[in-house]
């Protein structure tokens, strides 16, 4: 292959991987650690050896001479009719954390939720989820991070005590007409809004302020100007043939990533003879997940964004005979982009992630000229996921500091951590008489509140959601409340003098407002039950397309100026794992490597490679950016003169997992003219000379110089569907003979196809797998030691040069080779092939020689270096009695000293096979879906029976794009990949 792929800069420069050597020597040391300090110091003699032997053997003997324990079987007193012990049930519910929405199915086994899947009835996600959604199950069982009862002044209290006190205080404030403020994150639940309205009816002086830690104020206000509607539109990336994004990470974090991922990949699939796909051009500073998937990615500074957009507008406007404006000339010529967009009017989409109203007004104008409204952008069905207006929060903080606010009731907000001037907020908080926090978990703000009235976890709550107009999603509890908590809506209503059950309240709201009360229709209760079972309801209601006005356009164009700022431009972004930090205390998310940098357990400063090399910086060297000391990551593709840092880290009061991990950067974001900006120009940067080792999960997975990711362009593909994949033909031609006996599969032969053209590298599969298969969290130190346990990893390769960088994602799990190299080196036959093509791993047979790991060309096997369960050294979810409740009881929890790896979710295969046998029918294609396949938001993974000629996988295997990883080794993997095809546009020239 002519293209050069590289995974780390050392590889790019062909330097030896320094970290690799270091970690090897470290591993040796760790082996000695296992024996204890004494053993290292003493000279080993025969006598010591015998002592050790004697001790080991006798202690083991004492341990095992115990009698067999008496086990009890405790039945139900009265078994609920709908549940079968030992069998899982699925209930539809809704995930919304104030940042991201997803309709979900929750697997409930013997009364406790253990796994979250996407709800395939949802028309917008079709069963997809994101890593955040998958992980949220752990926050239910976060016994350290959750409040267990109401608190008063940080001391344990009870509802009996706090309720009357709060009620009295509120009544007193009501009496003197004092200001009561209800501060929440965006609320998309119509019934919750109703409860707020009821609360405000009782307390007429109460106000409701919405506050989003990462807001969309810019877009909301821009739409107010252009359409007189302060809303976020629905986007249809699947309808767009040309997508131009300016810093909007719509696949990773922007508005509704799971939905957009599905749309985006839909128009990029090349199956079944389809040979058209969308073209995606991304202008951005830091390498985002979206940028890494773009057909062309152009690094620009944030300050250039407005200029590029204004120029793009001018070119289009001139061609269409509309007014153009006098704006500074752009560095990148937008002529080609404009032409492309003009050729696809009504089938194109321009989006921007900026929070600047003027930029969003320009984006609106461009989309209007292109005729995209009503086609790829739908304002008739607005999205309600983000409603916060930054200036309202600023006003509130001002009023608090002026002593005007008498009571502050907070729900799901954490301004003491994520408000840019957190000190000011905290000061203001002290001046408020009555402060109540109603979050389900501890945070920096709840610690400062007088009363904490803990909310239920969302999996313990009733609720509903209206994420976009006309689309409802219902939420139902999956478990009895674990602690003495109460749903926040119930608390509000209680203080407003209504002691009601929230379920009744919810049903009443639905009966009066949402139930289509037409004659001849079924009764409400029957309709309600059916809707609840489905979890989603799409009424299709829309508000009509509003009219466009050019109001504010001239002002917007005039505001675009060339930046004269010296110094660096700092870009703040939400990381795919931690987002705005609400779920920071979640060990799965902390350990999930960043999809691009592959760093876990830290935020870091992504710096341009060229600058870093000039300064002699290496990954992990600490620089001071705007006063924050951060380790650097030399990020290929990072725009010159910019540095990118993630939000969500540096928590201090949320729990043992997140506290003290990374740095909080919210304090550094500029707050100007009532808007929080996600970029900061003119930042001072200095090198400190300090160094810390980053928890990188990537470089040790390097696959040196082989055609691992096969890639071609759309033009090539149209000419020849096997473009970029001719090596596969060669392979098929030459590998006819084998020393191995040909495997026979009498029943099923399971196979998995990964469509690299659909995979965006979002890492949802990694967490889904972790949740399904009880994969332990190993912590920062062990990640550094290259001992991360994920059964599926997403490899990321860079190509091109360090500025115009191409990025390639590739999920790699056990390939279940038919000629498996691992199997024949195992001295105890702990790993062997099944009659269904699975590469089996018998943990109780494994003695931990690790020969299989050594012999696996894909490096997908994981070794349990330690005991990760109930071990204080690994103080995460598995070292907690409550946390253990999230374990999947159908999957063994592995002990120290054994090897583990992907099983194709054999427990799911067995379950579905049994179901088919019970029903006396053959398995249908698609019945069996491993955890990664089920929740993939891009539908990039397909699983099925290769023995069934009609199955989806059998068809894909015959696709000309199909190839096996390192197939020249003739391992005959059951996991196959489809080549990546990029719809490369022509080069954009610099002016």
């Amino acid at each position: 292959m002519s293209k050069k792929y590289w995974q780390s800069l050392e590889q790019y420069h062909e330097e030896p991987d320094i970290d690799q050597h270091k970690s090897e020597s470290k591993q040796k040391n760790d082996l000695m650690e296992l024996m204890g300090d004494e053993a290292l110091q003493k000279k080993s003699s025969r006598r010591n050896f015998l002592k050790f032997c004697g001790f080991t053997v006798s202690s083991a003997a004492i341990a095992s001479s115990c009698e067999n324990p008496v086990k009890k079987a405790i039945p139900f007193l009265n078994r609920p009719a709908e549940m079968t012990p030992g069998e899982a049930d699925f209930y539809a519910s809704t995930f919304f954390d104030g940042n991201e929405f997803c309709s979900i199915l929750v697997k409930n086994r013997d009364g406790r939720p253990i796994k979250i899947e996407g709800n395939d009835l949802s028309p917008f996600t079709k069963g997809g989820t994101t890593a955040n959604v998958q992980s949220s199950i752990l926050s239910l069982y976060d016994s350290g991070g959750r409040y267990k009862q109401p608190m008063k002044e940080d001391k344990r209290s009870s509802w009996k005590q706090v309720d009357p006190e709060i009620k009295d205080k509120l009544e007193a404030i009501k009496e003197k007409d004092g200001e009561i403020v209800l501060l929440t994150s965006s609320i998309i639940s119509p019934t919750a809004k109703q409860s707020i309205a009821d609360f405000r009816k009782y307390y007429p002086s109460a106000k409701h302020v919405t506050y989003d830690a990462v807001s969309q104020t810019g877009m909301l206000r821009a739409n107010k100007r252009s359409f007189n509607k302060q809303v976020i539109p629905s986007y249809h990336f699947d309808q767009a043939d040309v997508i131009v994004s300016f810093g909007a990470d719509f696949l990773g974090t922007w508005i509704s990533p799971a939905e957009f991922t599905l749309q985006y990949s839909k128009n990029r699939k090349l199956n079944a003879g389809k040979d058209t796909m969308s073209q995606h051009i991304q202008f951005e500073a830091g390498m985002s997940l979206t940028g890494s998937n773009a057909d062309r990615r152009i690094p620009i500074k944030p300050s250039e964004e407005g200029i590029q957009l204004a120029n793009l507008y001018n070119i289009i406007a001139r061609k269409m005979g509309e007014t153009s404006f006098n704006v500074p000339s752009a560095r990148i010529n937008m002529k080609n982009v404009a032409a492309k967009l003009m050729n696809n009017r009504g089938r194109s989409l321009v989006v921007s992630g900026s929070n600047d109203v003027n930029i969003q007004v320009l984006v609106n104008a461009i989309n209007q000229l292109l005729g995209n409204y009503g086609k790829t952008i739908d304002l008739s069905r607005p999205v309600y996921i983000k409603q916060g207006i930054d200036s309202e929060m600023r006003d509130l903080v001002n009023r608090m500091n002026q002593g005007k606010v008498e009571a502050l009731i907070m729900h799901n907000v954490n301004p003491a951590y994520d408000y840019p001037d957190a000190g000011e907020f905290s000061k203001g908080l002290n001046k408020v008489d009555l402060t109540i926090h109603m979050g389900h978990a501890k945070n920096e703000t709840s610690k400062k509140a007088t009363y904490v009235c803990p909310d239920n976890h969302y999996l313990e709550s009733w609720g509903d959601a209206l994420p976009k107009e006309g689309f409802y999603s219902l939420q139902q509890p999956l478990i009895r409340k674990l602690y003495t908590t109460r749903q926040w809506q119930e608390s509000l209503l209680k203080w407003a003098g209504k002691s009601i059950n929230y379920l009744d309240y919810l049903k009443k709201h639905w009966e009066t407002n949402i139930y289509p009360n037409k004659a001849g229709l079924e009764s409400f209760s029957s309709w309600w039950n059916k809707t609840l079972q489905k979890g989603v309801l799409d009424t299709g209601k829309d508000n009509g397309q509003p009219d466009y006005t050019t109001r504010g356009l001239r002002q917007a164009a005039n505001s675009i100026k060339k930046s004269n700022n010296k110094g660096f431009e700092l870009v703040f972004y939400e990381s795919v794992a931690l987002r705005d930090g609400k779920q920071a205390n979640n060990p799965w998310l902390q350990e999930l490597p960043d999809p691009i940098a592959k760093i876990s357990w830290d935020n870091f400063a992504a710096i341009p490679v060229q600058w870093g090399e000039e300064k002699g910086l290496k990954n992990g060297d600490i620089i001071k950016v705007d006063g924050i000391e951060l380790p650097v990551f030399l990020q290929p593709g990072q725009a010159k003169g910019t540095i990118a840092v993630a939000y969500g880290y540096g928590r201090s009061e949320t729990g043992k997992v997140a506290d003290g991990v990374g740095k909080n950067v919210f304090a550094h974001i500029p707050f100007q003219s009532g808007i929080r900006y996600n970029t900061k120009p003119g930042v001072e940067v200095s090198v400190t000379g300090k160094h810390m080792e980053l928890a990188l999960s990537q470089t040790h997975h390097s696959m040196e110089g082989r055609d691992i990711v096969r890639e071609t362009t759309l033009d090539e593909y149209k000419k020849d569907h096997a473009a970029g994949n001719h090596a596969h033909e060669e392979f098929v031609k030459h590998h006819k003979e084998s020393l191995y006996k040909k495997q026979e599969f009498p029943g099923h032969h399971w196979g998995l196809i990964v469509d690299l053209n659909s995979c965006i590298g979002c890492s949802n599969c990694m967490v889904a797998c972790q949740a399904e298969n009880n994969v332990p969290v190993v912590g920062k130190e062990q990640v550094k030691n290259r001992r991360i346990m994920h059964w599926i990893r997403v490899d990321r390769y860079f190509s091109g040069d360090t500025e115009d960088t191409g990025t390639h994602h590739q999920p790699v799990m056990c390939q279940h080779c038919d000629n498996a190299p691992c199997e024949n080196v195992c001295p105890v036959a702990a790993t062997m092939h099944s009659d269904e093509g699975l590469n089996q791993m018998a943990y109780n047979r494994c003695i931990g020689t690790k020969y299989c790991i050594n012999n696996c060309p894909y490096k997908v096997r994981r070794f349990n270096w330690y005991r990760y369960v109930t071990n204080n050294e690994f103080d995460y979810n598995m070292n907690d009695e409550v946390g253990l409740m999230a374990l999947n009881p159908d999957v063994t929890v592995r002990e120290r000293g054994v090897v583990e790896k992907c099983t194709f979710c054999v427990q799911r295969i067995q379950e579905k096979k049994l179901q088919a046998k019970k029903e006396g029918r053959p398995l249908k294609d698609g019945d069996v879906q491993p955890a990664c396949v089920q929740s993939c938001p891009a539908k990039a993974l397909t699983f099925g029976d290769l023995n069934d000629p009609d199955s989806e996988v059998s068809k894909l295997v015959k696709d000309k794009r199909n190839y096996g990883l390192l197939e020249q080794l003739h391992t005959l993997p059951s996991v196959n990949y489809l080549t990546k095809v990029r719809n490369k546009p022509e080069e954009l020239e610099e002016v």
Binding site: K72, A73, T84, D835, G897, T903, D948
Partner: protein, 381 residues
């Protein structure tokens, strides 16, 4: 063939563990010291109560041995009478329990018959209650089997030592063949015991624990012909057969409140459980290690295996006993021999090659082994 020995497996040499473990388990070290609580009775009262209960002291109405029916040792066979601990539980945990009154007004036929000539005074009732405190603390005494194996093991050990001493030093026995023979026989015996114990480690065939209620499968499933699935109703749907909920017992025992053997005492426990909202804690008889996945639905529903194949003739058992050793070898042997419902169940219609083999007469039947019944990941994942 590999045999699963441990729930937790370690680095250490397994053989070493097994050998040492066996020596320890043979010596059967188990000491259970239970504290005596602070009963509101003097030691003297408790002692007198105990003497009465054991029939060592005379009641006013004559000499009665309570302990002969109300046993104080873990029973090996079913004993329908309430144990001493049962009585103690009842007497101490029931509010305003009056032992004399209860004795004077027997609740059931069985009780009336057994206690016909037994009358106690208030004072004696109080003394018995004092003894009950002790029983409650102590629980049933474990019945210790005579350590025959251990004795032979130790004796042969001593013999071996003597034989070696004689061979090397004392030379008292003229014919060297004798000590050598003793040595060899003893060694063989030792090896046999160790091997047996090692194989049986964590296996419990014959396990027959005393249950909290003297529920007899023989009475229910045998004599009354109640179908197994009536109580173990999830056997066709789930991995577990299911222990019936209390409510299910009540379906019959709402009406049936007195048994011919146990009177009202045992059945009353069901009602108590309902009233106290406390489920009955049964002792699990058939235990598999955690790393084994076993599904009842797979075997009973899909495989059409009879319950008795694995559980033995439960309908003949008063106390359920583990009949099979539930070892992996036993599982695998069954998988090798058992034929699957290959033609009857449409699920197998996609197994074309096996179908062909059957049609062409290459195979006369399809066993579990043929469809992957020996694959590790059928049971271990």
């Amino acid at each position: 063939m590999f045999k699963p020995m441990y729930k937790n497996f370690t680095h250490y040499s397994q053989t070493a563990i097994i050998i040492l473990a066996v020596i320890f388990s043979v010596s059967n070290l188990k000491a259970s010291e239970k504290k005596h609580g602070d009963a509101p009775y003097t030691g003297h009262q408790i002692d007198r109560g105990q003497r009465l209960f054991y029939g060592l002291a005379v009641f006013e109405s004559g000499k009665h041995n309570c302990q002969s029916c109300h046993y104080t040792q873990v029973p090996k066979e079913v004993n329908w009478n309430p144990s001493a601990v049962d009585l103690a539980d009842k007497a101490l945990k029931t509010k305003d329990y009056n032992l004399k009154k209860v004795m004077d007004n027997p609740s059931s036929k069985v009780m009336r018959k057994a206690h016909e000539k037994i009358k106690i005074t208030e004072e004696e009732a109080e003394l018995l209650k004092a003894y009950f405190y002790k029983v409650e603390q102590k629980g049933l005494e474990p019945s210790k089997p005579f350590p025959k194996n251990l004795l032979i093991f130790l004796t042969t050990g001593i013999l071996m030592a003597l034989a070696i001493i004689d061979l090397l030093f004392t030379h008292k026995i003229r014919f060297k063949a004798i000590p050598v023979l003793i040595l060899l026989i003893s060694l063989a015996f030792h090896i046999k015991v160790i091997a047996n114990e090692a194989i049986m480690l964590s296996r419990t065939p014959g396990y027959q624990p005393d249950q909290p209620i003297k529920f007899s499968h023989k009475v229910h499933a045998g004599q009354n012909n109640i179908d197994c699935e009536y109580c173990h109703s999830s056997v066709n749907d789930s991995k577990v057969a299911g222990i019936p909920s209390n409510q299910l017992c009540m379906n019959c025992h709402n009406v049936v409140r007195e048994g011919s053997r146990t009177g009202k005492f045992e059945i009353a426990k069901i009602h108590e459980a309902v009233n106290n909202n406390k489920p009955i804690e049964w002792i699990k008889v058939h235990n598999l290690p955690d790393h084994v996945f076993f599904s009842h639905a797979q075997h009973v529903n899909a495989g059409k295996v009879e319950c008795q194949t694995c559980h033995g003739e439960v309908e003949e058992m008063h106390m359920v006993r583990q009949v099979k050793d539930l070892s992996m070898g036993w599982c695998i042997n069954c998988h090798r021999d058992t034929k699957v419902q290959f033609l009857e169940n449409d699920y197998y219609s996609t197994y074309h090659s096996l179908r062909k083999a059957l049609e062409t007469g290459k195979k006369d039947s399809i066993t579990v082994e043929d469809i992957g019944g020996e694959n590790c990941m059928k049971c271990h994942y």
